[in-house]
Protein backbone atom coordinates (compact mmCIF):
# COMPACT_ATOMS: atom_id res chain seq x y z
CA UNK A 1 0.00 0.00 0.00
CA UNK A 2 1.34 3.39 -0.99
CA UNK A 3 2.45 5.58 1.93
CA UNK A 4 0.41 8.76 1.98
CA UNK A 5 1.90 11.31 4.36
CA UNK A 6 -1.11 13.61 4.01
CA UNK A 7 -3.44 10.89 5.29
CA UNK A 8 -1.20 10.29 8.31
CA UNK A 9 -0.83 14.00 9.06
CA UNK A 10 -4.59 14.61 8.91
CA UNK A 11 -5.15 11.66 11.26
CA UNK A 12 -2.60 13.11 13.68
CA UNK A 13 -4.17 16.57 13.36
CA UNK A 14 -7.63 15.26 14.25
CA UNK A 15 -6.24 13.38 17.25
CA UNK A 16 -4.36 16.51 18.38
CA UNK A 17 -7.46 18.70 18.05
CA UNK A 18 -9.59 16.15 19.92
CA UNK A 19 -7.12 16.12 22.82
CA UNK A 20 -6.65 19.91 22.96
CA UNK A 21 -10.31 20.98 22.67
CA UNK A 22 -11.64 22.51 25.88
CA UNK A 23 -15.33 21.68 25.33
CA UNK A 24 -17.48 19.32 23.22
CA UNK A 25 -18.70 22.30 21.19
CA UNK A 26 -15.18 23.48 20.46
CA UNK A 27 -14.14 19.96 19.52
CA UNK A 28 -17.09 19.67 17.09
CA UNK A 29 -16.28 23.05 15.50
CA UNK A 30 -12.55 22.40 15.10
CA UNK A 31 -12.93 18.81 13.88
CA UNK A 32 -15.50 20.03 11.34
CA UNK A 33 -12.89 22.50 10.07
CA UNK A 34 -10.14 19.88 9.79
CA UNK A 35 -12.40 17.25 8.20
CA UNK A 36 -13.71 19.79 5.71
CA UNK A 37 -10.17 20.77 4.73
CA UNK A 38 -9.23 17.11 4.30
CA UNK A 39 -12.32 16.48 2.16
CA UNK A 40 -11.68 19.62 0.05
CA UNK A 41 -8.10 18.69 -0.68
CA UNK A 42 -9.09 15.09 -1.29
CA UNK A 43 -6.48 13.00 -2.99
CA UNK A 44 -4.19 15.93 -3.81
CA UNK A 45 -0.53 15.17 -3.22
CA UNK A 46 1.79 16.79 -2.49
CA UNK A 47 0.24 19.32 -0.15
CA UNK A 48 2.91 21.99 0.42
CA UNK A 49 2.15 22.51 4.13
CA UNK A 50 2.78 18.79 4.65
CA UNK A 51 5.26 17.76 1.96
CA UNK A 52 7.56 20.77 2.24
CA UNK A 53 8.42 20.53 5.96
CA UNK A 54 8.91 16.76 5.62
CA UNK A 55 11.15 17.18 2.59
CA UNK A 56 13.21 20.03 4.10
CA UNK A 57 13.79 18.05 7.29
CA UNK A 58 14.80 14.99 5.27
CA UNK A 59 17.06 17.16 3.08
CA UNK A 60 18.93 18.21 6.21
CA UNK A 61 18.71 15.17 8.47
CA UNK A 62 18.10 12.28 6.10
CA UNK A 63 14.62 11.39 7.38
CA UNK A 64 11.23 13.09 7.37
CA UNK A 65 9.53 11.30 10.31
CA UNK A 66 10.60 13.71 13.11
CA UNK A 67 8.87 16.48 11.13
CA UNK A 68 5.45 14.78 11.14
CA UNK A 69 4.32 16.68 14.28
CA UNK A 70 5.56 19.88 12.60
CA UNK A 71 3.37 19.05 9.61
CA UNK A 72 0.42 18.97 12.04
CA UNK A 73 1.27 22.57 13.01
CA UNK A 74 1.56 23.41 9.30
CA UNK A 75 -1.87 21.90 8.65
CA UNK A 76 -3.42 23.99 11.44
CA UNK A 77 -1.74 27.13 10.11
CA UNK A 78 -2.98 26.44 6.61
CA UNK A 79 -6.48 25.71 7.95
CA UNK A 80 -6.66 29.06 9.74
CA UNK A 81 -5.35 31.01 6.75
CA UNK A 82 -7.64 29.18 4.32
CA UNK A 83 -10.74 29.85 6.42
CA UNK A 84 -9.91 33.55 6.80
CA UNK A 85 -9.34 33.82 3.03
CA UNK A 86 -12.70 32.18 2.33
CA UNK A 87 -14.45 34.51 4.78
CA UNK A 88 -12.78 37.59 3.24
CA UNK A 89 -13.71 36.49 -0.31
CA UNK A 90 -17.24 35.37 0.61
CA UNK A 91 -16.30 31.89 -0.65
CA UNK A 92 -17.10 29.83 2.42
CA UNK A 93 -18.67 26.54 1.23
CA UNK A 94 -22.23 25.99 2.44
CA UNK A 95 -21.42 22.43 3.43
CA UNK A 96 -20.54 22.04 6.26
CA UNK A 97 -20.55 25.68 7.39
CA UNK A 98 -24.28 26.40 7.13
CA UNK A 99 -24.57 24.76 10.59
CA UNK A 100 -22.32 27.43 12.09
CA UNK A 101 -22.67 31.23 12.15
CA UNK A 102 -19.80 33.12 10.40
CA UNK A 103 -18.51 34.33 13.77
CA UNK A 104 -17.87 30.72 14.80
CA UNK A 105 -16.06 29.99 11.55
CA UNK A 106 -13.85 33.01 12.24
CA UNK A 107 -13.31 31.64 15.74
CA UNK A 108 -12.22 28.28 14.31
CA UNK A 109 -9.70 30.06 12.05
CA UNK A 110 -8.19 32.21 14.79
CA UNK A 111 -8.11 29.30 17.24
CA UNK A 112 -6.21 27.17 14.70
CA UNK A 113 -3.74 29.99 13.99
CA UNK A 114 -3.25 31.51 17.42
CA UNK A 115 -3.68 28.58 19.78
CA UNK A 116 -3.45 25.17 18.14
CA UNK A 117 -0.50 25.80 15.79
CA UNK A 118 1.71 27.32 18.54
CA UNK A 119 0.61 24.52 20.92
CA UNK A 120 1.62 21.92 18.33
CA UNK A 121 5.05 23.58 18.07
CA UNK A 122 5.40 23.73 21.87
CA UNK A 123 4.90 19.97 22.11
CA UNK A 124 7.57 19.04 19.57
CA UNK A 125 10.29 16.68 20.78
CA UNK A 126 13.08 19.25 20.46
CA UNK A 127 15.37 21.24 22.77
CA UNK A 128 13.58 24.21 24.41
CA UNK A 129 15.75 26.84 22.73
CA UNK A 130 14.90 25.35 19.35
CA UNK A 131 11.17 25.48 20.14
CA UNK A 132 11.48 29.12 21.23
CA UNK A 133 13.25 29.93 17.95
CA UNK A 134 10.44 28.24 16.02
CA UNK A 135 7.76 30.12 17.98
CA UNK A 136 9.56 33.39 17.23
CA UNK A 137 9.85 32.52 13.54
CA UNK A 138 6.13 31.61 13.46
CA UNK A 139 5.20 35.02 14.86
CA UNK A 140 7.50 36.82 12.40
CA UNK A 141 6.08 34.81 9.51
CA UNK A 142 2.49 35.63 10.43
CA UNK A 143 3.36 39.32 10.71
CA UNK A 144 4.91 39.31 7.23
CA UNK A 145 1.97 37.41 5.77
CA UNK A 146 -0.44 39.84 7.39
CA UNK A 147 1.39 42.77 5.78
CA UNK A 148 1.31 41.00 2.41
CA UNK A 149 -2.41 40.31 2.75
CA UNK A 150 -3.11 43.92 3.71
CA UNK A 151 -1.30 45.10 0.60
CA UNK A 152 -3.26 42.61 -1.53
CA UNK A 153 -6.59 43.75 -0.06
CA UNK A 154 -5.67 47.35 -0.90
CA UNK A 155 -5.43 46.52 -4.60
CA UNK A 156 -8.99 45.21 -5.03
CA UNK A 157 -11.02 47.21 -7.51
CA UNK A 158 -8.24 49.76 -8.19
CA UNK A 159 -7.52 51.18 -11.63
CA UNK A 160 -3.84 51.85 -10.98
CA UNK A 161 -1.96 48.79 -9.70
CA UNK A 162 1.72 48.34 -10.48
CA UNK A 163 2.75 44.89 -11.67
CA UNK A 164 5.85 44.96 -9.47
CA UNK A 165 3.74 45.85 -6.42
CA UNK A 166 1.41 42.94 -7.14
CA UNK A 167 4.32 40.53 -7.49
CA UNK A 168 5.77 41.83 -4.20
CA UNK A 169 2.46 41.35 -2.40
CA UNK A 170 2.28 37.74 -3.67
CA UNK A 171 5.81 37.18 -2.38
CA UNK A 172 4.85 38.87 0.87
CA UNK A 173 1.83 36.65 1.40
CA UNK A 174 2.12 33.29 -0.33
CA UNK A 175 5.90 33.38 -0.59
CA UNK A 176 6.26 34.07 3.11
CA UNK A 177 3.80 31.30 3.98
CA UNK A 178 5.87 28.61 2.26
CA UNK A 179 9.11 30.21 3.50
CA UNK A 180 7.74 29.85 7.03
CA UNK A 181 7.15 26.11 6.68
CA UNK A 182 10.63 25.63 5.25
CA UNK A 183 12.19 27.72 8.03
CA UNK A 184 10.36 25.82 10.78
CA UNK A 185 11.51 22.49 9.35
CA UNK A 186 15.11 23.71 9.07
CA UNK A 187 14.98 25.04 12.66
CA UNK A 188 13.61 21.71 13.89
CA UNK A 189 16.46 19.94 12.11
CA UNK A 190 18.94 22.12 13.99
CA UNK A 191 20.39 23.60 10.81
CA UNK A 192 22.88 26.48 10.92
CA UNK A 193 21.43 29.90 10.14
CA UNK A 194 22.87 30.04 6.61
CA UNK A 195 21.14 26.78 5.72
CA UNK A 196 17.88 27.98 7.27
CA UNK A 197 18.11 31.08 5.05
CA UNK A 198 18.69 28.96 1.94
CA UNK A 199 15.66 26.79 2.59
CA UNK A 200 13.58 29.86 3.43
CA UNK A 201 14.52 31.27 0.02
CA UNK A 202 13.58 27.99 -1.65
CA UNK A 203 10.22 28.06 0.13
CA UNK A 204 9.63 31.73 -0.68
CA UNK A 205 10.34 31.18 -4.38
CA UNK A 206 8.11 28.07 -4.54
CA UNK A 207 5.29 29.90 -2.75
CA UNK A 208 5.51 32.96 -4.98
CA UNK A 209 5.71 30.95 -8.19
CA UNK A 210 2.88 28.69 -7.02
CA UNK A 211 0.52 31.57 -6.24
CA UNK A 212 1.28 33.35 -9.51
CA UNK A 213 0.60 30.08 -11.38
CA UNK A 214 -2.62 29.61 -9.39
CA UNK A 215 -3.73 33.17 -10.29
CA UNK A 216 -3.09 32.35 -13.96
CA UNK A 217 -5.13 29.17 -13.59
CA UNK A 218 -7.99 31.19 -12.14
CA UNK A 219 -7.96 33.66 -15.04
CA UNK A 220 -7.06 31.46 -18.00
CA UNK A 221 -8.33 27.96 -17.14
CA UNK A 222 -11.01 28.00 -14.45
CA UNK A 223 -14.61 27.84 -15.55
CA UNK A 224 -15.51 30.60 -13.14
CA UNK A 225 -12.83 33.12 -12.17
CA UNK A 226 -13.08 33.93 -8.46
CA UNK A 227 -10.56 36.73 -8.87
CA UNK A 228 -12.58 38.48 -11.57
CA UNK A 229 -15.74 38.01 -9.49
CA UNK A 230 -14.03 39.61 -6.47
CA UNK A 231 -12.23 42.42 -8.31
CA UNK A 232 -8.85 41.00 -7.29
CA UNK A 233 -5.92 42.54 -9.16
CA UNK A 234 -3.64 39.62 -9.99
CA UNK A 235 -0.44 39.94 -12.02
CA UNK A 236 -1.94 39.41 -15.51
CA UNK A 237 -4.50 42.16 -14.79
CA UNK A 238 -1.84 44.52 -13.41
CA UNK A 239 0.42 43.89 -16.42
CA UNK A 240 -2.43 44.78 -18.72
CA UNK A 241 -3.56 47.90 -16.83
CA UNK A 242 -0.12 49.42 -16.35
CA UNK A 243 0.69 50.61 -19.90
CA UNK A 244 -2.86 51.69 -20.82
CA UNK A 245 -3.60 55.36 -21.39
CA UNK A 246 -6.47 56.92 -19.44
CA UNK A 247 -9.31 56.25 -21.94
CA UNK A 248 -8.19 52.64 -22.53
CA UNK A 249 -7.84 52.11 -18.78
CA UNK A 250 -11.37 53.40 -18.17
CA UNK A 251 -12.68 51.04 -20.84
CA UNK A 252 -10.86 48.06 -19.36
CA UNK A 253 -12.06 48.99 -15.87
CA UNK A 254 -15.66 48.97 -17.13
CA UNK A 255 -15.02 45.53 -18.56
CA UNK A 256 -13.57 44.36 -15.23
CA UNK A 257 -16.64 45.67 -13.40
CA UNK A 258 -18.95 43.78 -15.79
CA UNK A 259 -16.81 40.66 -15.43
CA UNK A 260 -17.80 40.37 -11.76
CA UNK A 261 -21.11 38.91 -12.94
CA UNK A 262 -20.99 38.60 -16.74
CA UNK A 263 -19.43 35.48 -18.30
CA UNK A 264 -19.06 37.16 -21.71
CA UNK A 265 -17.05 39.98 -20.12
CA UNK A 266 -14.81 37.41 -18.42
CA UNK A 267 -14.21 35.66 -21.76
CA UNK A 268 -13.35 39.01 -23.36
CA UNK A 269 -10.85 39.80 -20.61
CA UNK A 270 -9.23 36.39 -21.08
CA UNK A 271 -8.94 37.03 -24.82
CA UNK A 272 -7.45 40.51 -24.35
CA UNK A 273 -4.92 39.29 -21.79
CA UNK A 274 -3.75 36.40 -23.99
CA UNK A 275 -3.51 38.61 -27.09
CA UNK A 276 -1.59 41.18 -25.07
CA UNK A 277 1.01 38.57 -24.10
CA UNK A 278 0.16 38.76 -20.40
CA UNK A 279 -0.07 34.97 -19.96
CA UNK A 280 3.35 34.51 -21.54
CA UNK A 281 4.77 37.31 -19.41
CA UNK A 282 3.39 35.66 -16.26
CA UNK A 283 4.76 32.29 -17.35
CA UNK A 284 8.19 33.94 -17.56
CA UNK A 285 7.85 35.49 -14.09
CA UNK A 286 6.78 32.09 -12.67
CA UNK A 287 9.79 30.49 -14.34
CA UNK A 288 12.17 33.08 -12.85
CA UNK A 289 10.95 32.17 -9.37
CA UNK A 290 11.26 28.44 -10.16
CA UNK A 291 14.87 28.99 -11.27
CA UNK A 292 15.54 30.97 -8.06
CA UNK A 293 14.18 28.04 -6.05
CA UNK A 294 16.39 25.58 -7.95
CA UNK A 295 19.48 27.75 -7.57
CA UNK A 296 19.06 28.15 -3.82
CA UNK A 297 18.29 24.46 -3.43
CA UNK A 298 21.48 23.59 -5.28
CA UNK A 299 23.43 25.86 -2.89
CA UNK A 300 21.82 24.07 0.06
CA UNK A 301 23.15 20.69 -1.18
CA UNK A 302 20.18 18.67 0.05
CA UNK A 303 20.43 14.99 0.92
CA UNK A 304 18.73 12.65 -1.51
CA UNK A 305 16.04 11.57 -2.18
CA UNK A 306 14.60 14.64 -0.39
CA UNK A 307 16.39 16.96 -2.82
CA UNK A 308 14.62 15.19 -5.65
CA UNK A 309 11.27 15.64 -3.88
CA UNK A 310 11.90 19.38 -3.56
CA UNK A 311 12.95 19.66 -7.20
CA UNK A 312 9.74 17.84 -8.15
CA UNK A 313 7.68 20.40 -6.16
CA UNK A 314 9.36 23.16 -8.15
CA UNK A 315 8.85 21.29 -11.39
CA UNK A 316 5.13 20.94 -10.72
CA UNK A 317 4.70 24.71 -10.44
CA UNK A 318 6.60 25.52 -13.64
CA UNK A 319 4.78 25.87 -16.95
CA UNK A 320 7.80 24.13 -18.55
CA UNK A 321 8.63 21.23 -16.21
CA UNK A 322 10.73 19.31 -18.68
CA UNK A 323 13.12 22.18 -19.26
CA UNK A 324 13.01 23.52 -15.68
CA UNK A 325 14.56 20.36 -14.28
CA UNK A 326 17.54 20.48 -16.64
CA UNK A 327 19.60 22.46 -14.14
CA UNK A 328 19.26 20.01 -11.28
CA UNK A 329 22.10 17.91 -9.97
CA UNK A 330 22.07 15.18 -7.43
CA UNK A 331 23.30 16.07 -4.00
CA UNK A 332 25.52 14.25 -1.55
CA UNK A 333 24.45 11.37 0.68
CA UNK A 334 26.09 13.13 3.63
CA UNK A 335 25.26 16.79 4.15
CA UNK A 336 28.39 18.73 3.26
CA UNK A 337 27.11 22.28 3.17
CA UNK A 338 29.43 25.25 3.26
CA UNK A 339 28.85 25.67 7.01
CA UNK A 340 30.38 22.33 7.85
CA UNK A 341 28.91 18.85 8.26
CA UNK A 342 25.64 18.53 10.15
CA UNK A 343 26.33 16.50 13.25
CA UNK A 344 23.54 13.96 13.47
CA UNK A 345 24.55 12.74 16.90
CA UNK A 346 23.73 15.90 18.82
CA UNK A 347 21.35 18.78 18.28
CA UNK A 348 22.90 21.97 16.97
CA UNK A 349 21.72 25.05 18.88
CA UNK A 350 19.34 27.20 16.87
CA UNK A 351 20.99 30.25 15.35
CA UNK A 352 24.44 28.63 15.17
Amino acid sequence: MRYRPAQEVFSRTKRFVSVQAQSPGQKRLLLTAVENLEAQLGEEEPLPFISLPLAVHAALRGEPTPALPLAVAGTLLFLGIDLLDDLADGDLPRTPWRRFPPAQVQLAATTALCALAPKALAELAAPPERIVAMQRRLAEGLLRMSAGQQQDLGFAGRARVGAQAVEESVAGKSGEEIALWAALAALLAGAPSAQIARYEDVGRAIGTAGQLASDCHDLFQAEHSRDLANGTRTLPIALHLEPLDAPARRGFMRLLDRAREDAAARAEIRRLLIEGGRLRHCAFVVEIHCQKALARLKEARPLEPAGGALREMIRQVSFFPGKTSKENTHGPTENQDADGPLDRRSPIPAGA
Binding site: S174, I206, G210, H217, Q291, M313, Q316, S318
Partner: protein, 57 residues
Protein backbone atom coordinates in the same frame (compact mmCIF):
# COMPACT_ATOMS: atom_id res chain seq x y z
CA UNK B 1 7.81 41.09 -23.17
CA UNK B 2 6.09 44.06 -24.79
CA UNK B 3 8.34 43.57 -27.81
CA UNK B 4 7.22 39.94 -28.03
CA UNK B 5 3.66 41.16 -28.65
CA UNK B 6 4.44 44.11 -30.89
CA UNK B 7 7.49 42.99 -32.91
CA UNK B 8 7.22 39.85 -35.13
CA UNK B 9 10.93 40.01 -35.98
CA UNK B 10 11.85 39.98 -32.29
CA UNK B 11 9.52 37.00 -31.77
CA UNK B 12 11.34 35.08 -34.50
CA UNK B 13 14.75 35.99 -33.03
CA UNK B 14 13.63 35.00 -29.54
CA UNK B 15 12.40 31.62 -30.76
CA UNK B 16 15.67 30.99 -32.58
CA UNK B 17 18.06 32.09 -29.82
CA UNK B 18 16.46 33.64 -26.71
CA UNK B 19 19.67 34.80 -25.03
CA UNK B 20 21.06 36.44 -28.15
CA UNK B 21 17.75 38.15 -28.87
CA UNK B 22 17.57 39.64 -25.39
CA UNK B 23 21.26 40.56 -25.37
CA UNK B 24 20.72 42.62 -28.55
CA UNK B 25 18.08 44.70 -26.78
CA UNK B 26 20.66 45.81 -24.20
CA UNK B 27 18.59 44.40 -21.33
CA UNK B 28 20.78 42.76 -18.71
CA UNK B 29 19.50 39.64 -17.01
CA UNK B 30 20.71 37.95 -13.85
CA UNK B 31 21.53 34.23 -13.69
CA UNK B 32 18.01 33.09 -12.77
CA UNK B 33 16.43 35.29 -15.44
CA UNK B 34 18.78 33.81 -18.07
CA UNK B 35 17.92 30.31 -16.85
CA UNK B 36 14.22 31.15 -17.08
CA UNK B 37 14.75 32.48 -20.59
CA UNK B 38 16.33 29.16 -21.60
CA UNK B 39 13.63 27.11 -19.86
CA UNK B 40 10.72 28.88 -21.59
CA UNK B 41 9.27 27.22 -24.68
CA UNK B 42 9.14 30.30 -26.91
CA UNK B 43 7.76 28.17 -29.74
CA UNK B 44 4.57 27.30 -27.84
CA UNK B 45 1.44 28.99 -29.16
CA UNK B 46 -0.84 30.95 -26.83
CA UNK B 47 -3.28 28.00 -26.82
CA UNK B 48 -0.52 25.53 -25.92
CA UNK B 49 0.63 27.86 -23.15
CA UNK B 50 -2.90 28.18 -21.82
CA UNK B 51 -3.20 24.40 -21.66
CA UNK B 52 -0.03 24.22 -19.53
CA UNK B 53 -1.25 26.52 -16.79
CA UNK B 54 -0.89 24.59 -13.54
CA UNK B 55 -2.88 25.04 -10.39
CA UNK B 56 0.21 26.18 -8.66
CA UNK B 57 1.54 25.18 -5.26
Amino acid sequence: MDRWTADPQFRRELRANPEDAVRKTGVELDAEERAALRAMDWGASDQELQARVSKGA
